[in-house]
């Protein structure tokens, strides 16, 4: 077997897969279903007045704390937005119900409690702010969160 060909094949295929991940993760995707309302999740938390953010994470997720910091920084001056974290392993049934397959997955609910979309993986720059702006239709204060 031509070794150069093998090396080139591995690097090209891996790059293609890596680029696919780069382009698909960290972006707002459409809500999975029209049926998902925050109240139905029964997580014992209150719905935010403007929006609610739900982050599914695991103790083995290295990027989850960074995403949490970004979100907290972004919403720190807005009491109308609630942010909750859920351990996807401890609440595996809920994660399955919401079709959460990797961590972090951040779900956005509007003021009525309906899921508006989700971001899988670490959000891209300004993605969190733009998403919240879209959901709450308010201009978020520019921060250094991203």
């Amino acid at each position: 077997m031509n070794h150069w060909l093998l090396i080139a094949s591995v690097l090209v295929l891996s790059s293609a897969f890596g680029l696919f991940l780069q382009f698909t993760r960290g972006k707002l995707t459409k809500k999975y279903s029209n049926e998902i309302f925050f109240d139905q999740l029964k997580i014992g938390q209150e719905l935010g007045k403007k929006a609610t953010i739900l982050q599914f994470e695991t103790e083995y997720c290295s990027i989850c704390p960074g995403v949490k910091r970004q979100i907290n920084e972004l919403i720190k001056n807005d009491k109308g937005i609630s942010f909750y974290e859920i351990d996807a392993v401890e609440r595996i049934e809920l994660a399955k119900k919401l079709h959460v397959k990797s961590s972090p997955t951040v779900l956005f609910f509007n003021e009525a409690g309906l899921e508006e979309g989700r971001i899988i993986g670490a959000p891209k720059k300004d993605q969190l702010r733009n998403t919240l702006e879209k959901i709450t239709t308010i201009k978020m204060e520019k921060t250094n969160a991203n």
């Binding site: 591995v10 891996s14 890596g18 680029l19 990027i63």
Partner: protein, 138 residues
Amino acid sequence: MQIDARGPRFGAAITMVVLLLVIYFDSAVLLAIQTLVWAIGAFAGPHNKSPYGFIFKTLVKPRLKSVGELENVKPPQFAQLVGFLFGVVGLIGVVIGSSTVFLIATAFALAAAFLNAVFNFCLGCEMYLLLVRARLIR
């Protein structure tokens, strides 16, 4: 236990270079050395006695200005185990005289190391998470 998440990625970068050399030179000796490194990472932890972890801890980390994210040691340790298994399969290929087995096993390990080093995507860690979520391991 929490470790600096940049450590395993640094180790993956060295592993990637080693595996490129393994394939280029058809070197069973290099693969055996890399497999030994994986074994140390898998059974003693990637941060502890692993040579790559040691290099990161003593030479690289002190020179980094930023503070890295911490991660649980279990997923990268499991990834080392996966690498170790690929290494063993590759070495079995050498023993039975099958260069195809040797090269294919090394190629898979190279792909995983490349994804981790370049795209920060740890395939072994993802496998670990899937097994945890399936409640097959804790």
